[in-house]
Symmetry: C2
Subunit: 188 residues, 2 copies
DNA sequence: GTCTATACACTGATAGAC
DNA sequence: GTCTATCAGTGTATAGAC
């Protein structure tokens, strides 16, 4: 029953999604989470880096589950994947163009300065790619094709989120959805 | 002849490419650029935000020129575009997975907190997309198709850079190159 | 487990001399 | 144009009481 710990992790994830790693201070995390101030280094002896790694892992896991359940809804790979991407577009719009998860931002900020966080992000991305690759294997794809195409799907989604946030529009992600569907059907 | 000013801008661009906006301090910029310390607010009265906007614009312009010259080398859109993306992969590798430009990182960090920087990034991305769209119009694309596909190309490249940096491999961008070439040929 | 207090470095920014 | 000095605020992290 570590609900205080959970609150800290959840708040960290939300704040870093909005403003990134370095702009998010521990004081703000404590304040926003309403958690007891003295408990941060009790729960996370590794300090900000450890706390961030946990927040990223949790956020990554939630997204992973959302991917899985979305892809299970429709059998056709092209259709289910483009549906999922459209859902991401909607999510980014409804968040006021502040959504899209904390991983991309933190990854770019820390990939050159924190081996721990870089590896955490790498593992999260790899997990997502694997799920898409498995779905593609239900179509007429070779394992290599599926892996390659799944990588491109994640790349285009992440890049699409960036374009949506900077352009304040969900359209880039919808164009990703449309064009990737075409590409997937090419094979299948 | 504002070479001190140029040095500051160049250093800002490099540092932010590596570690982002909030981790890059003005003191570090002054120190690394070897520029006179007192001149920063003389050249950039708007402070860090103005300096960053100039650095992003300069970096964006350089990339824009590189895109143009690359796409001019080969007539076939699919081939020239995938060649360019392979060049990006090589560049990221040779930089020790620290390259890829400052725009993406700063965009994610500040899109929700600085309207000025968000708009700067948006304009830069739009310029890149336009150049790719023009190239695609040389093939058998409708204007809408070209614009849509160019958007996906930029998204996949930006996302590919993220995957390359976190995974310390140039392969994701090469997979982007391969699959986008297939997608482009689908139309042309 | 949680608290307060605090150490110490650093941030962006400004003022005023030269 | 460039300098030094300095502002007020914030950063992460730690110590020690309770």
């Amino acid at each position: 029953m570590t609900t205080a710990r959970d609150q800290i992790i959840q708040t960290t994830s939300t704040l870093m999604e909005l403003q990134g790693y370095h702009a998010t201070g521990l004081n703000q995390i404590i304040k926003d989470s309403g958690s007891p101030k003295g408990s941060l280094y009790y729960y996370f002896p590794g300090g900000k880096e450890e706390l961030t790694a946990e927040a990223l892992n949790r956020a990554g896991q939630i997204v992973l589950n959302r991917i899985k359940s979305n892809l299970d809804l429709v059998e056709d790979p092209a259709e289910s994947i483009s549906n999922f991407i459209r859902n991401v577009a909607l999510h980014v719009e409804l968040s006021g163009y502040q959504g899209g998860g904390p991983i991309t931002t933190v990854a770019m900020e820390t990939s050159a300065t924190s081996e721990r966080l870089r590896e955490a992000c790498h593992r999260i991305y790899s997990g997502w790619i694997e799920v898409f690759a498995e779905k593609l294997l239900q179509g007429r794809f070779s394992p290599e094709q599926a892996q390659s195409l799944a990588t491109v799907i994640i790349a285009a989604i992440e890049g699409g989120i960036i374009l949506c946030r900077t352009g304040r529009s969900g359209d880039p992600l919808r164009q990703v959805a449309d064009n990737l569907a075409i590409l997937i059907r090419q094979f299948g």
